[in-house]
Amino acid sequence: MDLLTFARGPALQAAFTIFLIGTFWRLLGVLLLRRKLDHSEPRQPALAGAFKGQIAHLWPYQPFASRVMASYLLGYAFHIGLVVVIFFYLPHILFIQDLFGVSWPALPHAVVNAVGGITLMALVALLVKRLMNPVTRLISNFDDYFTWFVTVTPLVTGMLAVAQVGARYETLLALHLLSVALLLIWFPFGKLMHAFFFVAARATTGMIFERRGTHS
């Protein structure tokens, strides 16, 4: 079995298996924990806060803007960039269509390539920031760096495969798929889980503060 066949077959299958096991394990392991009933008299119904919280924390409040805007913009650059690259590059849509039977129009290769470049630059900038800024340098751990690595690797291998630089195409494609497998395997065990938990966290805080008549 050559590398590409391994990557397309057993590697991805194993990765999806681990991804599903780990994700449900960690999500339910948290969501099924106890939550004490709040007996305090609500100032207003709490539920709307669950939705407001999602929106409110999309963008920094004005008093914080000058201090965190750069990080937010870089964060958005690479998050949106990843969404574009992952979900609007034709071969990826074919991958998804093959698995789930749904598809949508792709963006032109050139656009995806350019977005990939921007995404990569944003990720590199954030890594530099993580290493240079005393706060992020102090609070960063293995998870932060390894998660960065598994996020950036599929992007780099994917772009190399498209450009056919560094190795033969099938090798690059195999490495790309293997790096995706690595990302999927790491996903449930590191901070990538924030992709799910951010909703829960914002909803939780949003409801607590909505109940108190304010916002978070």
């Binding site: 066949t5 299958q13 298996t17 096991i21 780990g22 449900f24 074919l94």
Partner: protein
């Protein structure tokens, strides 16, 4: 080797020097040889005495021989057999039985150390080689015996090169390619199902001209023909770059000749000269005829999943397995939460 030179042989067949030069020019350019190589090739070939060639056919379908012999018109490519003294060939031999085997013995004895061996078909190792025998001798034994005195071995077709169809899962005969068995002689793979005739000719011409085998890639193929992917040389490539894809074999995109990537074309991972040399006197090749490349010149191409699934898809992500994984995950999550709750209860309870 026979005494007659190739030049003499050609003129005996009424081939003009002009058309011979033309052949050499085309061959040299196909192989991306430097300018001047064509003349050198013509001169060398003309002076060359025809080498003795022993052709062994193992587990094969004769497609490779067909490909080489049934060219569209009697051309110089088809005259490959005039370059050489084909002393033994199962399919093409006029003689039969003991006579043929005697010819083989003679060829081995007369040209020991100098003859070329061409192999088509894979070699079965299962059941002590009993799956395929010629004159009571298993293929593996024949190959070992014949290769021992060979100058070089050329594995023609994907079966001889990499095991091909017979080796596809579950490989009932234990088939392998030549290079699995012949380790001490130069082996050139000319894969393809079937291989392109011009490639075959080119390899022979190179050997005869320079006395050596051409430069090979990681899979033992001549780089001159297998150096770039079908995709990179495909005339439909601009459509790929523009994002124009046929979605079905009968849709407007297919009729407009758009890229067949979505229909499973393996062009990007397949290395061969189909897109440049083409087939049938350079008339067409599979993609031009409307079907995606199936990657036939790549090792294990039968076992690389569906010919009709795009390259970027995953293979064998089984729904059942994913449901099982989800179930396991849910169980682990619920278990983890239960353990956590219990630990908390124990602490609150003072345990």
């Amino acid at each position: 080797m026979t005494e007659e030179t190739l030049g003499e042989c050609l003129s005996r067949h009424g081939i003009s020097r002009r058309s011979f030069l033309k052949f050499c020019t085309v061959t040299a350019s196909l192989m991306a040889l430097p300018p001047g190589a064509a003349a050198q090739m013509a001169e060398a070939l003309a002076r060359q005495r025809r080498p003795s060639v022993i052709w062994l056919s193992f587990q094969e379908c004769t497609g490779c021989t067909e490909s080489l012999t049934r060219s569209y018109a009697p051309s110089l490519e088809s005259l490959i057999f005039d370059f050489i003294s084909l002393d033994y060939h199962h399919t093409l031999s006029a003689a039969a039985g003991h006579q043929v085997e005697a010819a083989l013995d003679k060829a081995i004895a007369d040209n020991h150390g100098n003859y070329l061996v061409i192999v088509d078909g894979s070699i079965p190792l299962g059941a002590k080689g009993a799956y395929s025998t010629v004159a009571g001798v298993s293929n593996v034994e024949s190959l070992k015996r014949v290769a021992e005195g060979a100058a070089a071995v050329i594995a023609v077709g994907t079966c001889a090169a990499y095991g091909g169809l017979p080796m596809a899962q579950p490989n009932p005969t234990g088939a392998v390619g030549v290079s699995e068995l012949v380790k001490d002689k130069p082996v050139v793979n000319v894969p393809g199902c079937p291989p392109i005739p011009e490639v075959m000719t080119g390899v022979l011409a190179h050997f005869l001209t320079f006395g050596s085998l051409p430069e090979l890639d990681v899979h033992g193929r001549p780089l001159a023909f297998f150096g770039d992917s079908i995709h990179n040389r495909c005339y439909r490539r601009p459509f790929y770059d523009q994002g124009k894809f046929a979605k079905r074999f009968d849709d407007a995109g297919a009729r407009a000749g758009w890229c067949l990537y979505e229909l499973g074309c393996k062009g990007p991972t397949t290395y061969n000269a189909c897109a440049t040399v083409k087939w049938n006197q350079g008339l067409t090749f599979p993609i031009q005829s409307g079907h995606g490349c199936i990657g036939c010149s790549e090792p294990n191409f039968w076992d690389k999943g569906s010919f009709y699934k795009p390259l970027s898809t995953a293979e064998s992500i089984a729904g059942g397995g994913m449901i099982a994984a989800t179930t396991v995950g849910v169980a682990l999550g619920a278990g983890a939460a239960w353990i956590s709750r219990k630990r908390q209860d124990d602490i609150v309870g003072g345990k």
